[in-house]
Symmetry: C2
Subunit: 309 residues, 2 copies
Amino acid sequence: MFELSQIRCFVAVAEELHFGKAAARLNMTQPPLSRQIQLLEHAVGTPLLFRSTRVVELTPAGRRFLREARALLRGAETAVLDARRVAQGHAGEIAIGFTAGSSYRDVPELVARCRALLPDVNLKLREMVSQAQLEALLAGRLDLALVRPPVVQPALQWRPLRRERLLAVLPEGHAYAERGSIALEALDGVDFVMYSPDEARYFYDLVSDILRRSGVRPRHVQYVSQIHSILALVRARLGMALVPAGTTVFHYEGVVFRELVDLQPADPVELGLVVKRDDDNPALARLLEDLDARRGMAGDPRASTGRAP
Amino acid sequence: MFELSQIRCFVAVAEELHFGKAAARLNMTQPPLSRQIQLLEHAVGTPLLFRSTRVVELTPAGRRFLREARALLRGAETAVLDARRVAQGHAGEIAIGFTAGSSYRDVPELVARCRALLPDVNLKLREMVSQAQLEALLAGRLDLALVRPPVVQPALQWRPLRRERLLAVLPEGHAYAERGSIALEALDGVDFVMYSPDEARYFYDLVSDILRRSGVRPRHVQYVSQIHSILALVRARLGMALVPAGTTVFHYEGVVFRELVDLQPADPVELGLVVKRDDDNPALARLLEDLDARRGMAGDPRASTGRAP
DNA sequence: TTTCCTTACGCCTATCGTAAGCATA
DNA sequence: TATGCTTACGATAGGCGTAAGGAAA
């Protein structure tokens, strides 16, 4: 098979139509150039150039081959440039996992940020449950995960992204709906809708902990896993619930949201990015750098429970 | 710059993810393979593979480079195959020149024949006057010309394609229109429309010669160059004319065509293909072979005046 | 201790450059 | 006769294979 150096020789001769000038352009002498062209023609299996002592011209096969030869050289160039761009994080792809619950506000924000910063980087977005995301990170199938804590694997790095308040949600017309805010103690003995301990472990633990610390025991509790289900049950007057503040973006009809009084900390709902510590995706590194820089401008991030307490 | 052999090395390693197995596949030993990969990485300017003693994997830049590397190898393959196909006449292009007058029937026929025989050959069709066609042939800008005789250049080969009868054309209602055929002698003293000696030299000479040989002298003669102009003037009753039989395909209103009595030869209008004798276009060679074979089946071609008499 | 990638080194093939050959205008 | 591609041939650089080195499980 032929080599790219022979292609370069051929293109030079085809453009100059003169072995001597082509050789000069290639910084070599004519005889080895002639030899390389002969070798190339042998590899291709057909003459590419017609030469007499006075004239050098392309054969029909040579004309066609010239087109493809130029394309090969361009392809080789761009292969190098593209690889460098990927290595510098200006191109390539970032595989991002996210949970259904984090997709409403944070995924679009992250995508927008990435497109602005790295327009030539492809984003592969995959909705997965938290556990699957962490496994995919470890296996290298994901570069970035958007999950709730905790993240205990030492090979993974938790990066706090956002903290949110927790709000009470109750059906329109509920007795508490007239209050501007609701004290935790008021939840004692009321009907309650809660996150499932299996499928929404983080919120289950979070809400359970808050209720326990306040010495509050709701009366009748429904367990569901999706935020939409909670809102539906609240609307159906099966109880009230505690949900992250981002939930208000749904403008869900028939329910109202109320602040909680003296909740500690005030914004207990955590969301973070998780990356594999030894991930070598340069585009990811660029994205993380940018996020760090922007967080730096916004002030110090507060303490985080990325690792299990 | 790198070489295709290095690309082949890289693709093998990227696919095997094991230097030893890749080397076996490439019929070489690991050490030189490692060296080639290192040289390639140096040429690209960034690591393409991450290797420890236990694992070999692609870096993000390597993943991108692999895509383009495969494209390069495919491109090299197809460049060879395409060049061979052109050399064998199965692909490529044929540049065909034709005169406005020959385009009505013969160009479509030629194009259809070529498409059927050589579907991957591009046809470049160019309408040019005969002289320009012959010059273009000599300069290599045309492969094939569709012209009237004579062709006197020794470097060009005349190939008779078709002979046609000459018909009299006269306006509807003309005195001769009631005759089934017209004797040449009847043309003596009638008004006549003729081809221009400058722009339609062939027909001018042909018709002039026929009239002279018959001792016929038309009365008043209009000279025009295009067949459409002749028909228009005949229709306008400025005279009758002698035109090739193919003209009847126009179904021109207001004129009628009549056979000539005892014209010698019966089909004096010649059309031929002209090629450059040393044209090396294999697709052209295939087309000519095919045309020869078909002509052979159709019987011997009659004598031709391709060269000047 | 085994696996397997890398480094080291000698051999050899293949390319280069110089010089001579040869065909064409 | 001059130009310019090809062939011939000796020098050399670069790739290959063998052998040794070194890191990780």
